[in-house]
Amino acid sequence: MMRRAFELLLRLGLGGLFAFAGAVKVRDPEAFFWDVHHFDLTPWDVSIGIAMFLPWVEIASGIALISRKLYLGAIAWCALMSTIFLGAISIAWARGLDITCGCFGRVGPENATNYPQHLALNGAMLGAAILLGLLALRPSALRIVDGARGANERPEVRSP
């Protein structure tokens, strides 16, 4: 019961966050393109591709997580995107870039990215995706454990 409630909370939280992040970027793709390009990690055309594609992957993954359809694929996308965001933000911080990350579009004041805060948020998102993955795969993991126990354990012999 607790596990189900925890999973539901995690699923709705992570799914809602990704769907929201994608929706605000879709509203102004040009601004998001510049946010991506200012990371200085990708050429012009690749930044355009990311700006067009990434928000919709976020929305699709978020909705899939919330509705529990294509569930493992959505978890994989969320984990992958969180890892990429962590890497990009870390590199930008290491290079001392004074940029807006564009993580949530242009919601809120357009200040330079608060790197520790964004790293913590993306780390939490990655952690949540990994946890959801573990919870989703748990039945098969239990079967493996049960199988191993069955092979190694002797049947209990009861004395008459």
């Binding site: 793709p29 699709a60 694929g73 959505a74 290079r95």
Partner: protein
């Protein structure tokens, strides 16, 4: 299990690619350039003035240090007093001053206004589209 993850990930990618394609089609068509605001100059025109141009970078010192227009002098409202001597050293009455910010925003407009009114420098232009105009291929 891995096969299922890959299959579902691919379906999500395809589902995302469809609206992404429509959005790209809508946004990547060549649009006519927007009208110039008073005091603005287009990049092509400002480039034609070179070398008689003093580029003034009104973005933050960190952004200026990372990448800027070659030869640009950085000054913004935050470090005005500290940076004005360097700007006056680079200034030449025969040069036109072109101030740029990120894309749009108040910093470039504020710097251009202060250069005109406080420093009595002329002519002072603002770059249409800001530094992002310079980055466009």
């Amino acid at each position: 299990m891995i096969g299922r993850i890959l299959r579902e990930s691919a379906i999500i990618a395809v589902l995302a690619a469809l609206p992404a394609g429509v959005m790209a089609w809508q946004h990547l068509q060549v649009k006519p350039e927007g009208p110039l605001a008073p005091g603005e100059v287009r990049l092509s025109e400002a480039k034609a003035w070179e070398p008689a141009v003093l580029w003034v970078d009104a973005r933050s010192p960190a952004k200026h240090a990372h990448r800027t227009i070659p030869g640009a002098v950085q000054i913004d409202p935050e470090n005005w007093e500290e940076r004005i001597p360097a700007l006056l050293d680079a200034w030449d009455p025969d040069k036109r001053i072109v101030v740029f910010g990120d894309r749009e925003g108040d910093a470039a407009a504020t710097v251009a206004l202060r250069l005109r009114e406080e420093m009595q420098l002329s002519p002072v232009w603002m770059l249409h589209g800001g530094f992002e105009a310079w980055l466009r291929p």
